[in-house]
Each structure stands twice: as structure tokens, then as C-alpha cells.
């Protein structure tokens, strides 16, 4: 029963990130959600590609339509990464191992963020190629070398990652799985419907609108009533949402009893 441990030093970000990576990869739900997201994005890209009639439409944006739908899944996974610890009691083991709570959330965000980004970029690129390859004969598909196309594909994956981080932050703030998912779905989808009807000026700031109409658009959407953000402004806005929810989550995690 004796194992010699290296003495000196103390735990740092690297150790905490390793813990979070083992935790994330050892849950089946992680792989189910990521697989479903990528598969869904490809399926939708093919369905949209095959049924394309209008050669003048934003075909890149069409091919990336599945990314916007996958936002819900990655957001829920982000919520679960945090609330799963609270509902199971794992949080006590985690915080007993690493009492520096903001460091725990930072490591979670880094590990989950990298995994979500990889999944989002994979979904984006595969969906782009699948969606453009399945266009009907006679319709010329976009190429990555054309202006704005590569940017749309790359930012689509980034948006996917950022919505996942918003979910993680909401999970840290709210702690209870159903409530956090309700706020996420409400904030990303339901509120969007109301805002679309009531105040068009705010519509462009909603996460789903940013991903669907700013990040993944090559041609600016032509809507007289709604002003959508530019791709980079949209990315900045999503970063701001993620930073705000994670910041509030870290602040609360450090102050509340576990």
C-alpha cells in the first residue's frame, strides 16, 4: 500500500485540466452528444443540398444549417458537464481534490471548449463538403477559396463551441439540470421567437441568430427589419456572453457551499 509520490510543488492548471479531460471522456453522454451533433449537421447539409433549387442562395449558409440546430445539443452538454457534478455529488470529490474553485471551472471550460471546438469544426467542414457535393446538377457549389466561405465554415464551428461554453456557465450559475436546460433553451430558442415578433432590433443579438445569420453567412441576410451583426461582431458578442456566464458561474462557485 505504499506509492512514492514526488514531493514539493502544488497542483496547477495542468493537473486540473487532466482531471477534467478524464472526467469528460469517461462519460458516454459526451460521445453520444458529439456524434449526434456531427451526424445531424451532415444529415441536414445533405438534405438541404439535394433540395436546393435557387443557385443564387447563400449555399454555404445552407450547408451549415445543421450547425445551428446542433447548438441546442452542445449547449445541453455544457450544462451537464457542470450540473452532473452537482446532482451526483461528484462536485464534493472534485472540490476536495482541488479547493481552488475558479481554477476548476477554468479547466472545465478549457477542456470542454477544445472538445466542442474540435467537434464544431469537424461538423462544419464535413457538413460544408457534404452539402455542396450533393447539390443538384447545374448548380455551382461554393468553394473554400471564395471570399467569406472559409470564414463562415470556421466561425460556424467556433459559434458551436461558444454556445457550449454558455451552457457550461449557465450550469455553474443554476446548478440544477432541468432549470439550467430550461434557461438555455429559453434563451437560445424560445426567447428568439418572442423577440422576433416584438422587437426586431434585438433579434440580431440572440445567440442562435448570431450563429445562423452572422457567423455562417457569406451573403449578409436580406431582411429589411432585422439588422444582423457582422460575422466578427457576432463572434465578439458570443464571446461576451460566454465570458459573462462563466465569470458569474466562477464567482458563485467560489462563494456557495458545495
Amino acid at each position: 500500500m505504499t506509492t512514492t509520490l514526488a514531493t514539493g510543488g502544488r497542483y496547477r492548471f495542468a493537473q486540473v485540466a487532466r482531471m477534467e479531460w478524464i472526467k469528460l471522456r469517461s462519460l458516454r453522454s459526451t460521445w453520444w452528444v458529439l456524434t449526434a451533433t456531427v451526424a445531424g449537421a451532415i444529415g441536414i447539409a445533405v438534405a438541404v443540398g439535394v433540395n436546393t433549387r435557387d443557385a443564387a442562395a447563400d449555399l454555404t449558409n445552407n450547408a451549415l444549417a445543421g450547425i445551428s440546430l446542433g447548438l441546442l445539443l452542445i449547449g445541453v452538454l455544457g450544462v451537464l458537464v457542470m450540473t452532473g457534478e452537482h446532482s451526483s455529488g461528484m462536485i464534493r470529490a472534485t472540490l476536495a481534490a482541488i479547493p481552488n474553485r475558479p481554477l476548476v471551472l477554468a479547466a472545465k471550460a478549457a477542456v470542454f471548449g477544445v472538445v466542442a471546438l474540435a467537434a464544431g469544426e469537424a461538423a462544419g467542414f464535413i457538413a460544408f463538403f457534404a452539402g455542396t457535393a450533393t447539390l443538384p446538377g447545374g448548380i455551382q457549389g461554393p468553394a473554400l477559396g471564395q471570399p467569406g466561405v472559409l470564414r463562415a465554415v470556421v466561425l460556424g464551428g467556433a459559434g458551436f463551441c461558444l454556445v457550449g461554453l454558455i451552457g457550461l456557465g449557465l450550469g455553474a450559475i443554476i446548478r440544477h439540470t432541468p432549470a439550467a436546460i430550461a434557461v438555455l433553451v429559453g434563451g437560445v430558442y424560445v426567447v428568439a421567437q418572442f423577440v422576433a415578433v416584438l422587437t426586431h432590433s434585438l433579434m440580431g443579438y440572440l445567440p442562435i441568430a448570431i450563429v445562423a445569420n452572422s457567423l455562417t453567412a457569406v451573403q449578409p441576410p436580406s431582411d429589411d427589419q432585422v439588422r444582423f451583426l457582422s460575422p466578427w461582431a457576432g463572434l465578439g458578442m458570443l464571446c461576451l456572453y460566454a465570458a459573462a456566464t462563466l465569470g458569474a458561474g466562477a464567482w458563485l462557485l467560489a462563494r456557495r457551499d458545495a
Binding site: 506509492t3 509520490l5 510543488g9 502544488r10 472526467k23 469517461s26 452532473g84 464534493r92 470529490a93
Partner: protein, 246 residues
């Protein structure tokens, strides 16, 4: 060595821990006794930094828990409720904790074997019985080979063989010079393993003495315990002065 000084904690209007002070010394098993809801688990969470005290402090080897450089190498804890995710295997759970404190993965196999979960390590913990869950909790507590152990109701859910195993384990850990604090509401069980005993009621210290001394006060340890806890207010003043072991 665990030092608890004037610890206070309330939840809403309920006082959970009330100006609690005691020391837990190395080399002996210290029992932590009290009726349900007396504040045992809260005190343990406060020592581990999981809950924040309203006043007072707890120190381990002279430092607050939050300042420990490698917490799991200094303190091993088994908490009352389950502290693992049901979807994760026992092995993955322990590997994650080991990684956080720079403990090699080989140690995970050692503790799994030691608690009798070598064959169940790959199974998801959601399928574990209460007893297996306790064994996993004990494996996690022993992971960093810590000098201080806090075990909250460790015999919960264990079969007679498991209970006997825990008794031997606690004694041998203390014999190796470790500091061992074990809570229980089963007085008879603690009488078999503990040398020292700390009794609390409604968050207050009622006695801090040896098991032998407490047993000698009444017909049995159990009698002495009931006398203490039934009249906690009257007994508090008298025991505060004569019961301290420091």
C-alpha cells in the same frame, strides 16, 4: 492533526455548528458521535472547505484546507453522501482524482484491489450497491496515501465482513501514525474501534475524552452517550472544562 477552533455555521435560522472547538490527534482513532442532525457532517464539510464557516476556522497540519498544495495527499475523506458520477466507472473516477493531485495511475489499481473492487473497476458506479459505493469512497480517501482521514459513517451499507474489514483498516491506519476521525451514530460500532471520542449535540461540543473515560461515567458507553445528548444544555458547561484532552 486536525484543529477546529470556534467553528460556527448556520443555514438560514438553523444553527448547525455552534462555537465548536476540538483537536484530533494522530496515532489514535477518534470517534465523532452525535445524534442525527447534530452537525457531524457539516463539521466535516467545514474542515474540508466544502462549506464556508460563518466564523472560526479548521486547520490541518497547521493550514486551512484550501491552502494545501496537494490536498488528496494530505487528507482523505469519505463523505456521507455519494460523491461520484453514476455514469462513470470506478476506475475512471479514481483516475480523474489521481490526476488532479499528481498521483500515478498505478496507485488507482492498488487502492481498487485494496478495497476489493479490482474486478468491478470497469463497471459504471450507478450500478454499484451501497456497500460497493462505500468501498469506492474509501478507495478515493486512500488514493493519496494521506496522513489525515475523515470518514463520515464508513460502515453504512457494508455487510458484516465489510464492517469487520473497516474496523481493522481504521486501527491499522491509526497505528501507522495517521490522524483518523470517524463519525457514526452507532455507538456500539465506535466503541469497538475508537480510542478517543468527540460527542456533539445541536452543533455544540458535549464531550471530548477517551472512550474508556466516557464508558466509566455510566453503566455503558451507550448510557453515557444518551445522558450526554438528552440534556445537552445542562451538560455543556461542566463537560467543556473537564472533558478537553488538549
Amino acid at each position: 492533526m486536525i484543529e477546529v477552533r470556534e467553528l460556527n455555521k448556520h443555514y438560514g435560522s438553523t444553527v448547525a455548528v455552534d462555537r465548536l472547538s476540538f483537536d484530533v490527534r494522530p496515532g489514535v482513532v477518534t470517534g465523532f458521535l452525535g445524534p442525527n442532525g447534530s452537525g457531524k457532517s457539516t463539521t466535516m464539510r467545514l474542515i474540508l472547505g466544502l462549506d464556508r464557516p460563518d466564523a472560526g476556522q479548521a486547520r490541518i497540519g497547521g493550514r486551512p484546507y484550501r491552502e494545501l498544495p496537494w490536498p488528496l495527499r494530505e487528507v482523505g475523506a469519505l463523505l456521507e453522501a455519494r460523491a461520484f458520477h453514476p455514469g462513470r466507472s470506478a476506475r475512471a473516477h479514481l483516475r480523474a482524482l489521481a490526476a488532479s493531485n499528481g498521483i500515478p495511475a498505478t496507485r488507482v489499481e492498488e487502492v481498487l484491489g485494496f478495497v476489493g473492487l479490482a474486478d468491478a473497476g470497469g463497471r459504471r458506479t450507478g450500478k454499484f450497491s451501497l456497500g460497493m459505493g462505500q468501498r469506492l469512497g474509501i478507495a478515493a480517501a486512500l488514493l493519496g496515501d494521506p496522513g489525515v482521514l475523515l470518514l463520515d459513517e464508513p460502515v453504512n451499507g457494508l455487510d458484516p465482513e465489510g464492517i469487520r474489514w473497516i474496523r481493522g483498516l481504521l486501527r491499522s491506519l491509526a497505528a501507522e501514525g495517521r490522524t483518523v476521525l470517524v463519525s457514526s451514530h452507532l455507538i456500539g460500532e465506535l466503541a469497538l474501534t475508537a480510542d478517543q471520542v468527540i460527542v456533539i449535540g445541536r452543533g455544540r461540543l458535549l464531550a471530548d475524552t477517551s472512550v474508556a473515560e466516557l464508558s466509566a461515567r455510566s453503566a455503558s458507553l451507550e448510557e453515557a452517550f444518551f445522558e450526554l445528548t438528552s440534556g445537552s444544555t445542562e451538560y455543556r458547561g461542566a463537560l467543556g472544562s473537564d472533558g478537553r484532552t488538549t
